[in-house]
């Protein structure tokens, strides 16, 4: 049952929210031990919440557009009184005294929270192997990674633990795991969804978005959470959208560009073939297809691996053992800070904090951070001229299908390359999503990335719906 179907059934009283959540909880009992999608399953709260929804329905109240829909939350979204760890020892056991904006919105909409999903520590990674609490496995092949950093959320939806999960996308952390797990994943326009209550990795790149099994569900969830907020200064006020309303409008006459720089070198042939198939499907649905070029896109990864760590090095300074989370004692406060951070952060987080600290430090700022911010301008300008000639762009989401656990952990650069197709969109703030489009030679899913200009979600979803339908 899709999220949209569940909500309809629960609202009309055809089905109880309780029966829905019980079904998902038993699925979790079945295979969570193998997948390890969750850091925490809040079964009791979920059942109690479901009963509230059913009571509301019985009382003739409107329980909201997502009534009874089970939702899994990435463990970097603050949930009041419920541990929020970012899969890091340094936040182990921390219970936020407040809810993230998206958590408030989903609750008001009648959603039922299933638990907090595993992730790469502080969202730094592309495989969900950088978790202090153990790796998540790909439900479609437990020897493979689910992608990351929102691997737990992608796996939870792929494994049927929940029809909907939220993740965060800083360099591809929603789209790439969605592709590797064969689900739909959306990175909305920067500023579309309030970041209030999302534990920051890189503030100018982070954006919250949904994972779902299908396009319509993703649109329905985005319609709920895509609601700007006065507690996030970078919220785009005031413009909520509806992606659902125009979902079936098709792509007839839309100008679709195939993004050359992200479709050639380094893309596995079987992945490239699926993208070609997707392009043909759009064409036969009436889209006008041509090659599009964003020459500077190839520099996206370099700019990203300077900007994101720089912002992270500052965002993660607050984990000092004073106010919350882990403290490892020391003779002085500086010693205590150092002991706490050295014990609390994993290798990848330490690496990125060091890169970022270095990129911002006296004498290197202009050469690294300053230069990267100019590359960012260059990429934004290149895309701007492309948007004059195209309504949408298409590319692979990931250069390969799901890789094996441990395959890239020893080689950070190889891991970083997994983000090459997804990173440019975070630098520009545009909208993008990954739609599953068949499988590669290894039988594992391939994701097609659809890119839209800022606030272009409605058009983007029309194309996603066409691709979904074309698979029959």
């Amino acid at each position: 049952m899709t999220a949209v179907e569940i909500a309809a059934a629960v609202r009309s009283g055809q089905r109880s929210a309780r029966s829905v959540i019980d079904e998902r909880l038993s699925a979790i009992d079945g295979s969570e031990a193998e997948v390890h999608a969750f850091n925490l399953v809040t079964a009791d709260q979920a059942r109690a919440r479901a009963d509230e929804i059913d009571a509301a329905v019985a009382a003739g109240k409107d329980p909201g557009p997502l009534a009874g829909v089970p939702v899994a939350l990435k463990d970097n979204l603050c949930t009041r009184g419920v541990p929020t760890t970012c899969s890091s020892r340094i936040l182990e056991g921390w219970k936020p005294p407040y809810d993230a904006h998206v958590v408030e919105l989903l609750r008001e909409a009648g959603a039922v929270f299933v638990g907090k999903t595993n992730m790469d520590e502080f969202a730094m990674g592309s495989s969900t192997e950088n978790s202090a609490f153990g790796a998540t496995r790909n439900p479609l092949d437990p020897s493979r990674v689910p992608g990351g950093s929102s691997g737990g959320s992608a796996a939870a939806v792929a494994a049927g633990f929940a029809p909907v999960a939220l993740g965060s996308d800083t360099g591809g952390s929603i789209r790439q795991p969605a592709a590797l797990c064969g689900v739909v994943g959306v990175k909305p326009t920067y500023g579309r969804v309030s970041r209030y209550g999302l534990v920051a990795f890189a503030s100018s790149l982070d954006q919250i978005g949904p994972f779902t099994t299908n396009v319509a569900d993703a649109a329905a969830v985005l319609d709920v959470i895509g609601f700007p907020d006065h507690r996030d200064h970078t919220s785009r006020l005031p413009d909520p959208i509806s992606a659902s309303d125009t979902l079936d409008d098709g792509v007839d006459g839309l100008r679709v560009g195939v993004l050359a720089e992200l479709s050639g070198d380094g893309i596995a042939p079987d992945v490239a073939a699926r993208v070609q198939a997707a392009v043909r499907a759009l064409e036969s649905a009436g889209a006008r297809v041509a090659e599009a070029s964003v020459p500077s896109a190839v520099y996206g990864l370099s700019a990203y691996y300077l900007i994101a760590p720089a912002e992270a090095s500052s965002n993660l300074a607050r984990y000092d053992g004073v106010r919350y989370g882990l403290r490892v004692d020391g003779a002085s406060t500086p010693d205590m800070n150092t002991a706490t951070r050295s014990a609390g952060f994993g290798d990848e987080v330490k690496r990125r904090i060091m890169i970022g600290t270095y990129a911002l430090s006296a004498g290197y700022y202009d050469a690294y951070y300053g230069k990267a911010q100019k590359v960012r301008t260059l990429i934004i300008d290149d895309f701007a001229s492309v948007w004059e000639r195209f309504d949408l762009l298409v590319s692979p989401t990931s250069p390969t299908t799901a890789f094996s656990l441990g395959e890239r952990t020893a080689d950070p650069m190889a891991m970083y390359m997994s983000d090459v197709c997804t990173v440019p969109v975070n630098l520009t703030g545009q909208a993008a999503m990954s739609v599953p489009y068949g499988v590669g030679d290894d039988g594992l899913p391939v994701g097609v990335q659809i890119l839209a200009p800022a606030l272009g979600e409605p058009v983007m979803f029309r194309a996603a719906a066409v691709l979904e339908a074309s698979l029959g």
């Binding site: 200064h233 106010r323 919350y324 406060t333 690496r351 911010q373 590359v375 301008t377 950070p412």
Partner: protein, 101 residues
């Protein structure tokens, strides 16, 4: 790889700035990995883009401001319950050694 971009000593300095303590093994490994990354990102050095303005925000939209109205405050007990060490409603820390830099 070209010339070394970051030395072991620079790595140690950066770690200290970030309040991280690294073992010799970690310092060796990180120095190599950071150097490899810096060597890759150095491709942007070739770009002639000095004339471009840096982008600090993907949004190119105007500012808005918060009205000066008092809102909710946090419950102190709920907050202090999360703290490693407290005394008299305050956060307790080891000696700070000196004023802020």
């Amino acid at each position: 790889m070209g010339q070394q971009r970051i030395t072991r000593a620079e790595c140690a300095h950066v770690a200290a700035l970030a309040r991280l303590e690294l073992t010799d093994e970690e310092l060796d490994r990180f120095t190599g990995q950071l150097d490899e990354l810096l060597d890759h990102v150095a491709e942007v050095e070739a770009l002639n883009i000095d004339h471009l303005a840096p982008t600090m925000h993907p949004l190119r939209i105007g500012n808005w401001l918060r009205p000066d109205q008092v809102g909710e405050v946090l419950d102190r007990d709920e907050v202090l319950a999360q703290a490693p060490l407290v005394e008299n409603g305050q956060f307790k820390v080891p000696p700070v050694l000196g004023e802020a830099p």
